[in-house]
Amino acid sequence: MDIFLQQVINGLVLGSVYALVALGYTMVYGILELINFAHGEITMVGAMVSLAVVSALAGSGVDMPGVMIVLTGVLTAIPVCMGLGYSIERVAYRPLRHAPRLAPLITAIGISIVLQNAAMLIWGRQYIPFPPVLQITRYDIGGATITNLQIAIIVLSACAMIGLVFLVNKTRLGRAMRATAQSPQVAGLMGVNINSIISATFVIGSGLAAIAGVMVSAYYGLAHYYMGFMLGLKAFSAAVLGGIGNLTGAMLGGLLLGVIESLGAGYIGDLTGGFLGSHYQDVFAFFVLILVLVFRPSGLLGERVVDRA
């Protein structure tokens, strides 16, 4: 039982990060019906920028507690990523807003490659270690262990997600976003500034991606210019699993994918008597994704969207 609990905790930590990144995909899709493939790379940039700041601070020997150093890193990464998200939308997507849907998809892939290579040129090809500024403490819960860093990841993601749900459902900006998602033309006629709403969506999504990036690099202890690719892929799958375009769906999808992966990797070997090993972990996760999509093509919480007239 303690093993099962441990696997669920492992999954929740992984899932929280997926969920945070998935929100960025789902928000943009909800409003523009565009899959922003560069989103994973924004996460990577967030990790890289924060790491640069943290390394500089830790190396300069300033007398700051580790948490404050990391926080400074996060607070630098967020505006950088927000700016990046804004610029990407402005340069690569806005001019193509009325182009066929495939065109912005291609520029998205292009931007993703540009960002990867830019990061490779700036920060180099090697793995960059995260300085050991955070004191790791372990806690035992019913035989399973959880570290303070893992708790922080779960709590921080939860806070960010709750904040986002509040923003979308309770504020003026949120209402404008929902209106734009339903029908950009009509929202525009009602006085909503579509361009600034879309920009805001990218900015918020990128801010969340920055947080996720910092978490990943602090948790795994490294960052690399290629790290955004797989993370983006998994988060995108999570968004689809939950129902792309649906915020709660993205969170649920992220957490589910994390837990499924974890349980899959942990038990698949024992369940099949060693016939399928833990290298089938991704197969297992994506098999669940396919299964869900077969029975609910719009994802777990996705609504059946009637074609716009």
């Binding site: 093993i3 441990q6 696997q7 492992n10 999954g11 930590v13 992984l14 493939f37 892939i109 490659i113 490779m120 180099g124 090809r125 090697q126 793995y127 270690p129 050991p132 790791i136 372990r138 262990t145 570290t147 860093l149 893992q150 990943v216 795994y220 202890g221 490294l222 690399h224 290629y226 790290m227 797989m230 892929l233 995108f236 992966e261 974890s262 349980l263 899959g264 990797a265 942990g266 038990y267 070997g269 024992d270 060693g274 090993g277 833990s278 290298h279 972990q281 991704d282």
Partner: protein, 394 residues
């Protein structure tokens, strides 16, 4: 996502082609000038160098290229005469992205640009499929770092390596775990690459032969960063020791996650783990980790000190295999010198007979093309450094 891969590959190819053209253009520009200086008595000898220069293992790839470059620069400075002409070695560097398919594409490209020999590839997974292409075209290939057994077991006359192979290394590691480290219950993880899998299988066999029990066999990939699930599953089997067959980008986070999960088993790795990057990523969690490296440590290599000075002056810190790439390059140069020709058909028999003291040790090949007398050195992390435990011969 399915659409992205071919696109990236296509783009990669386009880029590679673009670079190739540029190189050629540069060559035609340089040729008249060089010809004028040496009065036409110079022979351009093109040598291919292949390693992943992009992607997760890019730092290791660049290291190999630098090692080979250093050797050929020295050879150029020495002014080696081949068939009455001064040889001018030029490296054509290719990026195989550690991907077997890309590996064969760039191998074919090197064949087409008529290289006289190849130093590479870095990974066993790319070296093996590419070796067929070189063999079909009779181009000698020396891998500085591929350790998988099948590479030299295919019967190709063109395949050589200067690195101790997995059979030698795995046997030493498995035996070491069970005897010197006294492990009774061993869990084995590999990254499913040709290298990781081959090494892990050899370790499992040797450990069982030495009386230990393999209680868990888990797998990951060479792009994964999260291992908590498999480590948790391993924890329930209570092993004394975990062996990981794979590279440091997985090994270091794995060690950190072991600490996070309160898993107290010893951690043993192969040469993919025994790197400087492992130390910086794993930090204090890396203390006590034991890993092997084929061959002898740079510090006790016959030409180690000298090499470190030369290399760091030019390229900075040595990552891992640069001394081997350097020796591989010199094996090729020495064979050409002995044959007095850069023609692969002429110097290949000399390559099989080569016998010289390289940076890493005595370099001579057995009938299969493996380096003879493969030694393995065990290291342990103490105070944030790899400290030599002992050198073990098979």
């Amino acid at each position: 996502m399915k659409q992205i891969r071919p696109l990236i590959i296509a783009l990669g190819c386009a880029l590679a082609l673009g670079c190739g053209k540029k190189e050629e253009a540069a060559k035609t520009e340089a040729a008249p000038g060089a010809g004028g200086a040496a009065a036409g008595a110079e022979e351009l000898v093109k040598i291919g160098s292949v390693a992943p220069l992009t992607g997760p293992q890019a730092s290791l790839g660049k290291d190999n290229e630098n090692g080979a470059q250093l050797a050929f620069d020295e050879a150029n400075a020495q002014g080696i005469m081949l068939g009455g002409k001064k040889a001018k070695f030029e490296i054509i560097s290719e990026d195989d992205q550690a991907d077997p398919r890309t590996g064969t594409v760039v191998a074919q490209k090197l064949v087409d640009s008529k290289v006289k020999g190849v130093i590479g590839h870095l990974n066993s997974g790319t070296t093996i499929p590419a070796s067929k292409i070189y063999a079909d075209n009779n181009i000698p290939q020396i891998s500085p770092s591929a350790t998988a057994i099948p590479y030299t077991a295919q019967g190709y006359k063109t395949a050589f390596r200067v690195m101790t192979n997995d059979e030698q290394q795995g046997a030493v590691l498995g035996n070491y775990a069970a005897t010197a480290l006294g492990a009774k219950k061993i869990a084995i993880i590999d990254d499913r690459s040709a290298y990781g899998q081959g090494l892990a299988d050899q370790v499992a066999t040797a450990a069982k032969a030495a009386g230990a029990d393999v209680v868990a066999r888990e797998y990951t990939s060479d792009k994964a960063t999260d291992f908590t699930a498999i480590l948790t599953s391993i924890k329930s089997k209570k092993p004394d020791l975990i062996f990981f067959g794979g590279m440091f980008p997985q090994g270091a986070p794995m060690v950190k996650q072991m600490k996070g999960l309160g898993l107290k088993a010893k951690f043993l790795g192969g040469d993919g783990v025994q790197t400087a990057d492992f130390l910086s990523i794993a930090g204090t969690d890396g203390e006590g980790v034991i890993a092997s490296s084929p061959g002898v440590p740079v510090s006790s290599m016959p030409g180690g000190q000298d090499f470190v000075t030369k290399y760091t002056a030019k390229y900075g810190e040595i990552q891992l295999y640069a001394p081997y790439a350097y020796d591989a390059a010199w094996a090729m140069i020495n064979a050409m010198k002995a044959a007095n020709s850069s023609d692969p058909a002429v110097y290949m028999p000399e390559l099989a007979k080569v016998n010289f003291t390289g940076v890493t040790g005595q370099i001579s090949f057995d009938a299969k093309g493996d380096v003879q007398g493969g030694a393995v050195t065990m290291y342990q992390v103490k105070d944030g450094k790899w400290q030599v435990l002992e050198t073990v011969k098979k």
